[in-house]
Structure formats: C-alpha cells, structure tokens
C-alpha cells in the first residue's frame, strides 16, 4: 500500500517535472504581457479588482483594435498571493512563458518590487511600479529598468502633508499627526519623508506600525483615540488592514474627515465594511474613479457583452479596477511609443524600456484613448522615471468616492535631492554605473 502510493506519486512527479523542463517556444507575432497578480491570499480583495482592470483593458484592445497597432496581446497571469518568495517564483516562471519577451512587469507589491529590481536589470525588462515600490527608483540614472510613474510614496507623503497644511490654514506648527502604517517595506517607505517634513513644518509625528495582515488594531486605535488624540491620522495600509482601520477609527469616534489614506487605502472595499460610519473618510488618488469613460464603455461592450470579462460587470469602474486599467494603459502606451521607433511587431523588453522612458501622455492622448481627464499628463525622461507626480484628495460620501481637492504638486525641489541621494547610496552599495543621460539621445 505504502510503496504503491509512493510509486504513483513519484511517477507522477517525474512525468510532470520532465514536461516542466521543456518550455514551449512558439514564434508568434504577439506581444507578451505577464501579470503578477494576486487573486488569493489575505490581500486578494484588493488584488482582484486591480487584476481585473489590467486584464480587461488588454482584452478590450485585442477585441476592439486587434491588439496594439495590429500586434495582438498575449496575457498570462501568475498568482503571487502578495508573497515575496512566490512573486519571485512567478516572475521566473512567466519570463519565458510567452510568445515574445515580456513587455513590462508590475507586481503590485513593494516587497516583490525590491526582489525584482536586480532581476529585471539582469533580464533586461522594464519594471513599472505605479505608485508603489522604491521611491528613489525615480532616478533613472541609477535605476535604468525601474519606473515609478506617476507618483511615489515620498511624493504622496508630501502631498498629504500639503493638503493637511492647507486645511489647517497654512501652519502645522504644534499639530499632532499620526501615521498608521503597514509594518513592511511598503508601509515604511513614507516615514523618512514624513519625519523630514515634521522637522521642517514643526508638527509632531507619531508612528503606529500595524503587523501583517492588519486585523489587530484595537490597541492602536485606543491609543490614538483616547490618549494621543492627534489632529490628523494618515494611513499607509493595504488589504484588510484598511477596512479594519476605518472601522476601528469609527469605533473610537475619530473624525473621519481628518483621516487620510494613501491611494492604496482608498477603494470601495476599504470603506464599505464600516457602513455609514465610514462617510467622510479621505484618501489620495491619482486617477478618476467611476466608469463614465468611453474606454470603460468599450470594455463593457467588447469584453463583458462577449462574456470574456475577468470579473463581475459591477466591478468595472471601481477605484482599484481603474488603477489596474491605468497600469495597463501605461504599459500599453510604452509599447506603442517603442513601436513608433522599432516597428509594429512584438518587441523585446529592452525596446519597451526605451518606449517607457520616452513615454509621453498628453491630455489630448488621454482623450483619444477614451479617457479624458482620467489621469494627469505624464512625461518620462532618462533622469525622471516618475514624471509628474501629482495627486488629489478624494472623499467617501457613503455611496461613492468624490474628488474634493485640486491636483496637488509635491515639492520636488526637496524630494528630488532625496531620491538622488538614496539612489546614489544604492548605486555605490551595488556597484551600479550611473548613466550619463546627456550622452544618450
């Protein structure tokens, strides 16, 4: 009995592993888009709408335009479960799984980003970390393969503080601001910027790390609500940590309109569990919510009406869905830019990287894509892999997210030297040659 079971299992394993050795390499004229998504694990509620938005947009392009300038898109996913080891495994698995070289990578996880930075440099593939990842990767001279467009965490921290300053009538001196953050590489990114601003603006910053996955926050919020009583609470949360925080804040009667999350803490999933008590909660954003765009209508028509949608029809237009869509737009536009130079064919990662570095999306282009006013104009260069970096504040009214502020421009005159200093340290530690942007055309 035992030996038979053992034999069956080993034989099965042998068969499967022998077929694993040979990776199919069919030469097709299709551009490969790998998807490092998470539809399982503790962060799946946020990962799923993002993945759907990303995949639906690509699906729509295939159905409506036959791909990008006639080059079909081949999309494949691997589930990382927001787990760094798994993300690395998925990356290695997908990198040769498609009909062409991968166009670009977007792991939707700061931790996985850190693990991939060296790998994409070795494999010559661009890594687009849209509003997450290493802020200092905005310095394209050091991080040739990494792009942080449209905004980094450091810029986001600056934008939030600027918004609070404006609400407080110009001065933050003597104010108390609490930062509730996910205790991981992701949540710690804004701390250095917040501390610098605390020194400059004279507010008192208190840090409240929340351990993964973030279900235990009662003590944190009791301290915030009963003892510290800060003027503002800023949150860097993700997944179930967000909804827990909103509920706990409501439980200690913290005023919701003085509670601002980063853009990863401002989706429907985060506020709905708290019900009406979440009304007033704010967050940053860098693209419009809602499905009132021509591109969304095209998705509904070409993808969902044809029964090929990745998610539920009602999910189209949610905040995170739109974020996934924006990520797909940037990746596709980079390919389009590169195609203008290298020809309309399946491109290599190196070529797409050039396209991404020379990416420019004007307001006219946004309108052309059926997304007028969806996001800011973006222009990337060799030095600047962030390109723009503006955000706005949106507020939950109990039913939907509404934009309540103008675009806030982070103070790049202070942020840029910080990016450069940090990137330079990385370059020395890892012996990376700094690119001379003037020498490259």
């Amino acid at each position: 009995m035992i030996s038979r079971a053992f034999l069956v299992i080993t034989a099965g394993a042998a068969v499967l592993s022998s077929s694993l050795w040979s990776i199919p390499s069919e030469a097709q004229e299709a551009q490969f888009f790998p998807g490092l998504q998470y539809r399982s694990g503790p962060y799946a509620p946020n990962g799923i709408p993002f993945a759907n938005g990303y995949a639906d947009y690509l699906e729509m392009l295939n159905a409506r335009d036959g791909g990008i300038n006639g080059v079909r898109i081949h999309y494949e996913e691997c589930d990382t479960a927001y787990n760094n080891d798994r993300g690395v495994e998925c990356y290695e698995r997908l990198k040769r799984a498609g009909p062409s070289e991968p166009a670009s990578w977007s792991p939707l996880s700061t931790g996985i980003t850190y693990a991939l930075i060296e790998r994409v440099a070795a494999d010559k593939a661009p890594l687009l970390t849209m509003g997450y990842g290493r802020a200092d990767a905005s310095d394209g001279r050091v991080f040739k393969w990494v792009f942080t467009a449209p905004i980094t965490y450091w810029a986001g921290a600056d934008a939030i503080i600027q918004y609070i300053q404006e609400q407080e009538g110009g001065s933050l001196a003597g104010k108390k601001i609490a930062l509730v953050h996910h205790d991981s590489a992701y949540g710690r990114e804004p701390i250095s910027t917040m501390q610098r601003l605390a020194g400059e603006e004279g507010f008192e910053l208190s840090l409240f790390p929340v351990t993964h996955p973030g279900l235990e926050q009662t003590a944190t919020w009791r301290q915030i609500g009963r003892q510290l009583r800060p003027d503002w609470v800023v949150m860097w949360g993700w997944g179930v940590m967000n909804s827990t925080a909103v509920q706990e804040a409501a439980a200690v009667n913290f005023p919701m309109d003085r509670f601002i999350g980063v853009w990863w803490s401002g989706a429907e999933q985060d506020v709905l569990p708290a019900g009406t008590r979440a009304a007033g909660y704010k967050s940053l954003g860098f693209h419009a919510p809602g499905a009132d765009f021509a591109a969304h209508q095209d998705i509904l028509r070409y993808v969902y009406d044809a029964g090929k949608g990745w998610g539920d029809r009602s999910g189209v237009g949610q905040v995170l869905y739109n974020r996934g869509l924006l990520n797909a737009v940037l990746a596709v536009e980079a390919v389009r830019t590169a195609q203008a130079r290298y020809g309309n064919r399946a491109l290599t990662g190196e070529e797409v990287r050039w396209g991404m570095e020379n990416l420019e999306i004007t307001n006219e282009r946004w309108a052309e894509m059926g997304l007028p006013g969806f996001a800011r104009e973006i222009k990337l260069t060799c030095e600047d892999h962030e390109g723009g970096g503006q955000a706005f504040v949106q507020q939950w009214d109990g039913q939907s997210w509404n934009i309540i502020s103008d675009w806030i421009q982070p103070r790049n005159e202070a942020l840029r030297p910080a990016y450069e200093a940090s990137a330079l340290q990385y370059a020395t530690e890892n012996r990376i040659e700094i690119r001379d942007c003037a020498a490259e055309e």
Partner: protein, 359 residues
C-alpha cells in the same frame, strides 16, 4: 537484485562505521551529486535553477539545522525564522562593513553569530521541555524580528527596512550574490556548500556529540545518569542548529530573493521548516532534503500542473486548488507514514533488497 549487500565484507571498524556502509548507497549518493554538479547545469533552465533548485538547497540547509535540534536532540523550536533573520542581517551588516572579506567567510561568521544567539535563547531549554520550550523559542522568533524591524541600523538606514544583497564574488569574477551573479553560479556554489555542510552534519550526528544529543532526546534523566551533561548537549545542539539555520537565512536573503525585509522571516517561516522535518523525517539528514523537496517543490509543481496538463483555469482557482491538494497530501503522508519520507525510503530499500523475489 541490484541492491544487495551480500559479499560486501567489512574487515576494519572504520569500514563498518562508514557513512554509507553499503557500496550501492555510496555510489548512488555520489552519482546523484555528480549528476547535480555536471549534468543538471547543462539542462536546467534559469527557471529551474533560480526558482526551484536554489530555494530547495537553501531550505534543505535550514531543515538540517532544525533537524539537529528537534530531530536529534528533541528540543522543539519555533524560532527558526528568527534565527534565519539573524543570519541574513548579520551577513548584510558584516559584508557592507567589510566588503573585502570573502563572502563565504562572512556567511560562516554570521553563522557563528547566530550560534551565539541560539545559545542565549537555548538557555530556557535547561529548565523547560516540550510545548513549553516551543513557546519559549517563539519568544526568540518575535523578539528577533522585532529587533530587525525596529532598528534601522540593521538595514544601513534603508527607508523601507529592506536589505539588498550587494555583489560579492567567491573568487575573481565568479559572482555568487548581487546583480552580477548568474543563476548557474549560485546553484553550483550552493550545491557544493550544502553538500559539504550536510556531510559535516552527518558526521556530527554520528560522533560523541551526536550520540549525546540522541541520548538526551530519548530520555534526558537516563542520559544524565550515564554521564552525559544535559547542559552541554542541549546548548551545543542549539548552537550548531542555529549555526546551520543562520547560514540558511543568509543564503535565502543573498542567493534566493536577493533582497529581504524582516517580514520574510515571520513565524510562518518557522512552521514551514518544522513541517519540512516532520514530513521528511525527524532525526535524519536525508529526511531534511526530502522534506525540503516536498514543501518547496510540490506547491510549485501543483501550481504549474494545470498549464502542463493543458487545462485552462483561472489564476485564483489554481491557487486555491494548490492549497487544497497540498494540505490533503500532507495529511495523506502523515497517515501513511508518520515517520516521514526518510522512513519511506528506508522501507523501499528493505523491499529492494529482496526484489524481485520477495518472501
């Protein structure tokens, strides 16, 4: 027929006490090692090298470490993740402070550092046993992770609390960490390193120290009566186990993911290694390898299976199926063979001996 020891006579004690007293075993292990060293590099894709073989070897190292403590000395530990973190962060601090020292020496030094930490957290084992000790080592786990998370000094003040492996060469241009290291370099280095360390471990458990560990494991009062010092036995087990686990942590951070935060060594990591040695076989070096293979390779295999079999399935479905099948297989294995895969191999050997004429 092929696996038969008839005619192999031992005329000296040394021969009788060899690690592999049977010729077929010796040749078999040598053949596997040579196959891994000389044949695999030519056929394995970077996916295989990077995502399957490298983590397998690193985890095998961690499993050997925990097996020394739990399998041989009988001290249950849930601090594996914390000790792995020690190895990783010690290596990072040392190699960034002294870039001119060879990385292998640095890793060994980090191992010694972890051994000291292991001794400190092993002290409670002199008074408490079993589940209570497991809880005490859990304290090590949480304390160490907390320390590495809260002190930016450990990460050279990286704003995100992440350490990144700098490029380091074994000799000349043979880079084994950092962006310049090829998967093949990493694999070859790890293979030889883990093989040597496994050989050392195998010899250790056969030595007087190893026998002392096993005596303490089987009955500590009896061991004390026959003259074994439990303090020395237990603390040496903690030290050597932590040494191995620390090295595994350093290898994990430097060779596999190339960048880690302390979160990568959470308590789930401890459980993962513990499951490895339970499934592989407590008190067996071979079992450490088998257990690591089971825990590391099987989920990857399961998540690749639908694509290989040509079934199109949604990503979340694959992820959930993988969990279910993996869980079911663990239960199945523990019911069929509670003593682990190593015992299964032993039974297979018994059968092979009589094959094809069983009686």
């Amino acid at each position: 027929m092929f696996y038969r020891e008839a005619g192999q006579f031992k005329s000296t004690y040394a021969k009788d006490q060899a690690i592999f007293p049977i010729k077929q075993d010796k040749l078999g292990v040598l053949a596997i090692f040579l196959f891994a060293l000389l044949v695999v590099p030519f056929f394995a894709s970077t996916y295989w090298l990077n995502s399957i073989l490298v983590p397998f070897l690193v985890f095998a190292m961690a499993a050997i470490g925990l097996n020394i403590l739990t399998g041989y000395c009988g001290q249950v530990s849930l601090g594996t993740g914390g000790f792995m973190a020690c190895g990783a962060f010690f290596t990072f601090k040392l190699t960034t402070a002294f870039p001119e020292i060879n990385i292998v020496l640095i890793i060994l030094m980090a191992g010694f550092g972890t051994a000291l930490v292991g001794i400190a957290f092993g002290l409670p084992s002199l008074r408490i046993k079993g589940f209570y000790l497991a809880i005490a080592t859990l304290a090590a786990q949480f304390f160490l992770i907390w320390m590495f998370t809260q002190n930016p000094w450990w990460t050279n003040y990286n704003p995100a609390g992440v350490i990144t492996a700098p490029p380091r060469a074994l000799f000349g241009d043979f880079y084994i960490t950092g962006a310049l290291a090829t998967p093949l370099n990493k694999y070859l280095f790890l293979l030889c390193f883990v093989a040597v360390m496994a050989l050392v471990a195998k010899n250790l458990v056969r030595s007087a120290v190893g026998r002392a560990w096993m005596a303490v494991r089987d009955m500590d009062i009896a061991a004390e009566i026959i003259g074994i010092r439990p303090m020395f036995a237990k603390l040496s087990a903690f030290a050597i186990s932590s040494f191995y686990i620390g090295i595994a942590g350093a290898l994990w951070a430097f060779m596999y993911t190339a960048s880690v935060e302390a979160l990568a060594f959470e308590v789930t990591r401890s459980f993962q290694v513990l499951f490895m040695i339970i499934i592989g076989g407590l008190g067996s070096i071979l079992g450490s390898f088998l257990g690591a293979a089971f825990i590391v390779l099987l989920p990857i295999l399961l998540s690749n299976a639908p694509a290989l079999l040509g079934i199109r399935m949604s990503t979340d479905m694959i992820a959930h199926l993988e969990f279910m099948i993996f869980g079911a297989l663990i239960i199945l294995f523990l019911i069929l063979e509670p003593h682990g895969l190593a015992r299964l191999w032993q039974l297979a050997k018994e059968k092979l001996r009589r094959w094809p004429f069983p009686y």
